[in-house]
Structures are given as C-alpha cells and as structure tokens.
Amino acid sequence: MQCYLGVDIGSVSSNFVLLDQLGRLHTKIYLRTEGNPVNAIKEGYARIKDSLSDNITLKGVGSTGSGRNLAEVLLGADVVKNEITAHAVAASHKYSDVKTIIEIGGQDSKIIILKDGIVNDFAMNTVCAAGTGSFLDQQASRLNIAIENFGTRAVKSRQPVRIAGRCGVFAESDMIHKQQMGYPVEDIIMGLCEALVRNYLNNVGKGKKIEEPIVFQGGVAANTGLKKAFEKILNASINVPENYEVMGAIGAAILAREHIEQNKTTTSFKGEKFILDGDFKTSSFECKGCPNLCEVVQIKRDAQPLAYWGDRCKKWETSLDSQCRLKIV
C-alpha cells in the first residue's frame, strides 16, 4: 500500500498522520512538543515507523505548523505549507460543503471562511494569546483539574457564571473573585468557556460572516464545554471531526499527495536512516557581519550543518547550496 506522511509541528503538540492514496487515515500520533521540536520529530517518526507494516511505501511527505521548516530539513518534505491552507484542505476533504472553520491551537486561533471549497477569507489572533489553548491549560492547572476533564466538568454546569473575556489576565482575576464568592467549579469553568468564545468572536471572528456548516478543530476542540459554548452563542450546530487534533497534519498529507500526483515526481523524503541514526543538534549564534546582529540558528546532523535560518540578509541561509544538502542523503 502507498501512503503519505503529514507532519504538523506546533508550539504545544506535534502530530503525525499516515494517509493512504484515497485519503483514509491509517495511523495518527499526537505528541507534546515540550519545547523540543527536533526530538518530537524524531520520536514521532520512530512511532510512525513502528506502525508501518512491510507492504507500505512512503510516497510523499508534507509539513506544516510553526516548525514546518525544521520538519522539512529533518525529513525532506515535498510540500511545506502554512497552517491556514493545511487546515482548510483537511476540513473541506472531510466536509465538502464546509463554510466556516474555527481552529484553536496552543498559541494561536484562527477563523477560515470558505466559499465553494476555497479559502475566501481568514483571520488569526493578533498580538494577544487570550483565548487559546495555553490559557485554558494554565487555568486548568490552577483549579487542579486535568485538562482532559475540563470539558466534561464544564458541560455539567447548570448556570454558567459571567466572566470578563476581554483579556486573559482580567479573566483570571474575575474568575478568582467568583471562586472566592463560592460559585461551584463547574459553573466557573463553563463561564470561562463562554468568555473564551466571546473573546474569540470579538477578536478573531470580528466582522466575519459565520455560516453553517461550521467545523471546530485543533487541540482545543477536545473541550466539549467550548463546543457547547460556541453552539449556544452562535445558535448553530458545530461539527467536531473525529480526528480534530491532527487536522493540520492530515491537510499536509493531502497537499503532499496532490503535489506528487500533479507533478508526477518522487518524494524527497530523506529516509529513515537519516532521521533515526543521526544526532541532531541546534545551536544559535549572533552574526557579527553587520549592525543588525541577527540571531542565526544552525542545525547540525552529527558534525554536518544541515541548515541555517534567522538571518535577514540570507547570507547563512544560502551558504549551503542544494548540492551539498543532497550529498548527505
């Protein structure tokens, strides 16, 4: 069987999926990035390999997420795409008539409006991370509730309390106040879910026409409390796809298949020896070439530099020509 690998390296989680040629999900792996994307990519690939049976060949690799360039260097991706496109492709693959995608991840939240299966408009949160997964994570640990149980506790609420949703810091102090007044925990966390939804709709969804069918995906979609809050406030039904947490990776795999099939090329995947046997190290240094003093990141496999980035003038980035990079493979 021929398969495509999709990789989504995010700030909080790293996801890997294997899709077959018809776009059916074969394997999915959800890992915490834990601040070390290089390790996450290695471990994720090792786990994918364990699930590979002998009759599977890898036809292509696609990468997305904020660590997409790193994944490209380590794995040799055929397609490197931003998260918006990847999420949109995955959602419209599953629901062909989808009009609105709500995606909330660890550090960012986005809204994507589609028209006839094509991205027509999108928005991402600007400078503030209130209303994203990290904020929920933090509040859950403050209330001593496992984040996995956050949603199930929230939906038990009968009378959610009103919590200010304009800013994450103010929401927290408001929440503490309500807690000290003696409101039940369920009502507080449901109130928090509703505050988050209001914040999302005011900031990210500002001025956008949200039409059904609506798909809610990203790691935060695990939270049933949020789903319920969205349904209540939007007065619409919300679809959470079965593989909501790996939709970005699914999109990357679909894009890789599209690329390989359209261009009739073979994959630039670097092979499992390259990933599993090598010792990858990243380091950074301040380039003293000009007064910009860019912080340049270097990635090495054993003693061999693989890639540089972070320099404005691209002096380092282009210092390794493609010839040299190919030789290592």
């Binding site: 904020s66 496109t85 492709v89 991205v119 003093l293 860019c294």
Partner: protein, 329 residues
C-alpha cells in the same frame, strides 16, 4: 564646508531628495545615518518616550547615530502639514522638542516649521532663514529650493514605476535596483511610507511578497487624481494627509480589475492607523484584505505564515474561478 545631518527615518522616505539637493546647492555637505539596523532600533527604543510608535522610536535612534558624526547642524524639521487643510500625525509636531529633551550633546538643530495648512508664506520665510545659514544670496536660496523640488518630483516619478520610495532614493543616488521578477499575482500594499519602506521596521515585507511571486502596487503607483476622488467618497473628510492617501488608494485598488488583493501594514500604537485600518477594512467590498500590525518584535514567523496563507488563498481562489473545479479533495 558645513556638514548637515539628515536622519534616515520618517519623512526621509518622501523628502530626502529635496533637502539633500537644497543643502548641496548651497554648498553644504549632507550626511545621513545608515538604513535602520538593530543597533539603531535598540538605541531609539532606549531613548524615546514609550508611548510613541515604532517609526518615531527608530528616528530617535537615527538622530543618536548622527550625533556621533561631527556635524555643524542636524536637520529635524517640525512637520505640521504638507498640504492645505490636512495634517501630519500630531506626534511629528513634537519630535524636535522630544529629541532635544532626551538626547544630550546634539549639534545645533534646524527645526524649521513646515505648515502648509493655511498658507505657504511661513514656509517661504523659514526657508530663506534656513538658507542664510549658508549664504546671504537670496537668489541662490530660491534656486536651491527650486532645484530641490525638481529632484523631489523626479524621485516621485521613479516611485510611480513600481519602486518603493526607499528604492527610488537609491536609484536617484545612482545605485540601480532590480525589481523585475516572475510575478503571477498583483498585490496592493498600503501603509505609512516610513514604516512600509523601512526594511527593518516592516520586516522587509515588500521584498518578502515579491519573493512569493507578487507584483507590488503602492500608493505612489496609483493615479493621484483617482486617489483623491475615491477618498472624497468617505462621508467625513480624512484630514490626515497620509491617512487620506491610504483610504483613497485602497478604494481605488478595490475597483481595479488587475489587483488580486490588498494588505495594510499598520503600526502598533499609531493613532491614525487604528482608524484608517478600520475604515479601509469596512469599505473594501470586492477584494481580499488583510491587516498586519507590526511592532518591535523580531520574530518573522507570524508574518511569513500570514503572507503565505494570503498568497495561497489568492492563487487557489483564482484557480477555482478559472476552471470552476475544486482543486482539492
């Protein structure tokens, strides 16, 4: 020979050719600071009041840089208005005073008042006063200013060919700039010139979108009469010169068939931008539009993701309207 310093920031991008020619014609040598780099940004952030916007902070850095260079004068005009019944952002009015208060050891500051809101008599008086620092010959001063204006118009004409003002100034000074490339998208790029054309402040957004295959259309490439005509359709007249230019350009581009989409680059903490960006976002009816807010951060990841997603969206939209077949799934 007397040495006059002109800081490489703010209205440098519009009027440097004028003043350089003016001072040169009167026999003075003109010194400028280098293009914005990190040392300049750091110095500016340290010196400036924290409520100002990034371009003003950077300007402080340029002044600080120039102070080290043995100057007879430093040219920091007090910009109030450059055309009848319109004004420049009020922060500019206070710039010479703010700089005198915060940067010790300044060479004598030339802070002539440029206020054309009601009459040009005052400016004429100031220009003669300014010229007398170098010569007593009134005719020479008049000719120097005339020559300056000619060079200014020449540079504006260069910008009309698709160069940014920063590139136009370099071409004017004799360094040729290559802006040809393979472009398949036409993108309108709007923003205050002193943030958009400063490669450091705007994180080189102009060349980033060019590298993504977009031909860049700037307010300077649009017909001035159509800009004014479109800006006049707003119920209340926009009395900021640059703001009105942006609104007019956006509405003009909105009607042009050859433009695929528009991006507005706003500065965090810019008063006029907070209104102008909003007005444009509401008035644009036919084209995809994206607002990007920039500040002191150096992380380019967020910017690149948004630009890539925007270009992807434009291409996929076009592909779908051309063959009317969904390009994926």
């Amino acid at each position: 020979m007397k040495r006059v310093g002109i800081p490489h920031g703010l209205f440098y991008y519009y009027y440097y050719p004028l003043w350089k020619t003016f001072f040169n014609s009167l026999g003075a040598e003109v010194v400028t600071s280098p293009a914005t780099n990190r040392l300049i940004v750091d110095a500016g952030i340290q010196k400036a009041v924290d409520e100002t916007c990034l371009p003003i902070k950077v300007y402080f850095g340029h002044v600080f840089q120039l102070c080290q260079q043995n100057l007879d004068y430093i040219f920091i005009p007090r910009l109030v208005s450059i055309e009848a019944k319109s004004y420049i952002c009020p922060k500019f009015m206070g710039v010479p005073d703010m700089i005198k208060a915060t940067i010790p050891g300044l060479p004598p500051v030339i802070d002539i008042v440029i206020d054309l809101s009601k009459t040009d008599k005052l400016l004429k008086k100031d220009i003669f006063q300014l010229g007398r620092l170098f010569t007593r010959d009134n005719k020479a001063i008049r000719n120097a200013y005339k020559k300056g204006l000619q060079e200014y118009y020449f540079c504006r004409a260069l910008a009309g060919q698709g160069y940014t003002m920063s590139e136009a100034i370099q071409v004017w000074e004799g360094t040729s700039q290559d802006i040809t490339g393979e472009y398949d998208l036409n993108l309108g790029l709007l923003g205050h010139g002193y943030s958009l054309y400063d490669e450091n402040i705007s994180m080189n957004i102009v060349n980033k979108v060019r590298a993504m295959g977009c031909r860049v259309h700037l307010p300077e490439t649009c017909d001035r009469k159509s800009i004014e005509a479109e800006a006049a359709t707003i119920p209340k007249r926009v009395f900021w010169t640059l703001g009105r230019k942006m609104v007019g350009s956006a509405l003009h581009m909105d009607k042009r068939k050859d433009i695929d989409g528009m991006i507005y680059v706003a500065c965090f903490g810019c008063g006029p931008d907070s209104l102008i960006g909003e007005i444009i976002e509401r008035k644009i009816k036919n084209k995809p539009f994206m607002l990007i807010t920039i500040d002191e951060h150096t992380g380019e990841g967020g910017l690149v993701t948004r630009l890539e997603a925007f270009c992807d969206m434009l291409r996929r939209r076009r592909a779908s309207s051309e063959n009317n077949i969904s390009s994926h799934g």
